[in-house]
């Protein structure tokens, strides 16, 4: 999630009160809407992203980066070996907790690894990229599985 849950909730409350409420005439419906806003306001400081999802992503990152480092070492290329060493050191240095700190550190290792790949030939990085691809695929599936059917059509139609 790129927008913190509390900010999303604030946005929902603001939209309800400033955009939706003026268009509602029924007193009962207005009361219900105020109740929704009240619930959301009191929810905002009690929610955060589920740690189980963060831990799954972190494990997937750790495993795929480890496999990528092995693949790089197997090429026998000095430059690839150096990248593999950096991955190994970074993985060992990543904090084990809390989940957000661990995930943040591992995402940084992934970003710097992909940057390093830009300096290597595709022949050298082919197997390592494939190892990282396992994480890309798994993470994409995990995130898509969480999504609810889109209301984009209704949002566009108004």
């Amino acid at each position: 999630m790129l927008i913190p849950p509390e900010q999303l909730i604030d946005g929902c409350v603001r939209t309800l009160l400033e955009t939706v409420l003026p268009g509602i005439e029924s007193r009962f419906a207005r009361g219900q809407l105020y109740a929704v806003a009240d619930v959301l306001r009191n929810l905002r400081d009690r929610v955060e992203e589920k740690s189980a999802g963060l831990e799954l992503e972190a494990q997937s990152l750790h495993d795929s980066l480890g496999r990528a480092a092995s693949a790089l070492r197997a090429t026998g290329e000095t430059a690839a070996y150096d990248v593999a060493l950096r991955i190994d050191h970074s993985l060992a240095a990543a904090p084990t907790a809390p989940p957000t700190a661990r995930l943040g550190a591992l995402r940084t290792v992934m970003a710097s690894t992909l940057e390093a790949f830009d300096g290597l030939s595709e022949d050298v990085t082919k197997d390592a990229t494939s190892a990282l691809g396992g994480h890309f695929a798994a993470q994409a599936v995990r995130e898509v599985m969480l999504l609810k059917p889109s209301l984009l059509s209704e949002i566009s139609k108004g």
Partner: protein
């Protein structure tokens, strides 16, 4: 002058319509479809010495914050204005007003063409947005319009100001840089699969030996369709915000992208992508090179990701209260899954 939008538009039209003695707003509505520029559709009564007539217009105004910020409406206005007499069904666009004193922010006004814009989403029963008869009638018109667009002599139309790429892979690299800069400008974390894709695109930017006008957003959702006694008619090609000079296959890849399948296996809800390529090749006389197409297919998802990230950033910064920007936060994973599929890390879902 009154502060109301109606009165301001009336005053603007009165100043621009030769012979008009009075302009009266009959109806004004803000469109909900567009997520970027603000779109106002309006009908006015124009009083002249010889009597009164009614004309329909559309005003496009730069938003306070939006998906393609920073906004500069002038290039697309100049293109639309230059194409106003071309057979391509682009909306005749006579006026641009850069002065924010008139309508708070720059805007341009185009004539409202007849028709409706189908929303690029599946119907409630899960079928695609267009019925078979509409698809059959519309496909050749869409293909012909795209081929026509790419055949426009942009030099003769004084559109060189858009900046022509150099021969070779400059067109591809320039577009990649444009969208990469937008992504970086959001200062949001780049998902790993997108970072990997950006690297692949930089290493595989294809060369092209021709430069054409590129609409940049040619697809279902930006086509105006009019029901006529003879069948459906493509009455307008809309939303020229991303117009530029470049590789024509960029438009082909965008139009046939996973983004616009609308719950069907059909490119922009029309025909299978392979059929679209063949029809376009036939109409344009231009080969659809698979390597160039692959580059622009991936770039299409990067472009849309950049657009979504820009909206997310605007919402996070509190520059827009529009919750539609926030929904991109949970739309983005679909694009990342699409990138994983196109890069070969994830099998394509069965159609």
């Amino acid at each position: 002058m009154s502060d109301s939008l109606e009165a301001r538009l009336e005053g603007f039209l009165l100043s621009r319509l030769p012979g008009a003695r009075a302009v009266k707003m009959i109806s004004l509505e803000r469109s909900t479809e567009g997520f970027s520029q603000e779109t106002f559709s309006f009908l006015v009564e124009i009083h002249e010495n010889g009597g009164a007539s009614r004309r329909a217009f559309v005003a496009k105004r730069a938003p306070v914050a939006g998906l393609l910020e920073p906004y500069d409406l002038e290039p697309e206005f100049r293109v639309l204005n230059a194409l106003s007499d071309d057979p391509l069904p682009s909306p005749p666009t006579p006026w641009f007003e850069p002065d924010p004193a008139v309508l708070e922010r720059p805007f341009y006004v185009m004539e409202r063409l007849p028709g409706q814009v189908p929303i690029p989403a599946p119907k409630p029963d899960g079928s695609g947005p267009l019925d078979p008869a509409t698809r059959a009638a519309l496909t050749p018109q869409v293909i012909a319009a795209l081929a026509r667009l790419h055949a426009i002599d942009w030099r003769k139309r004084d559109l060189a100001f858009l900046g022509a790429p150099r021969k070779g892979n400059d067109a591809a690299l320039r577009e990649l840089a444009r969208w990469r800069e937008r992504i970086e400008a959001t200062r949001l974390p780049v998902p790993a699969v997108m970072q990997e894709t950006l690297g692949w695109l930089r290493r595989h930017a294809p060369a092209t030996d021709e430069t054409t006008l590129v609409h940049g957003d040619f697809r279902l959702g930006n086509w105006l369709l009019e029901e006529t006694p003879g069948g459906v008619r493509l009455s307008g090609v809309l939303d020229w915000e991303m117009v530029h000079l470049g590789d024509p296959l960029e438009d082909v890849a965008w139009c046939t992208s996973l983004l616009w399948r609308a719950g069907s296996p059909l490119a922009s809800g029309l025909v299978p992508p392979s059929e679209f390529y063949a029809l376009y090749a036939q109409a344009s006389g231009r080969a659809v090179d698979p390597e160039r197409l692959r580059f622009y297919e991936l770039l299409s998802l990067v472009k849309m990701s950049a657009i979504m990230l820009t909206g997310i950033r605007a919402f996070r910064d509190g520059r827009t209260p529009d919750l539609r920007m926030a929904i991109f936060d949970h739309q983005l994973p679909f694009l990342m899954a699409g990138l994983a599929v196109l890069r070969g890390f994830l099998p394509a879902p069965a159609e």
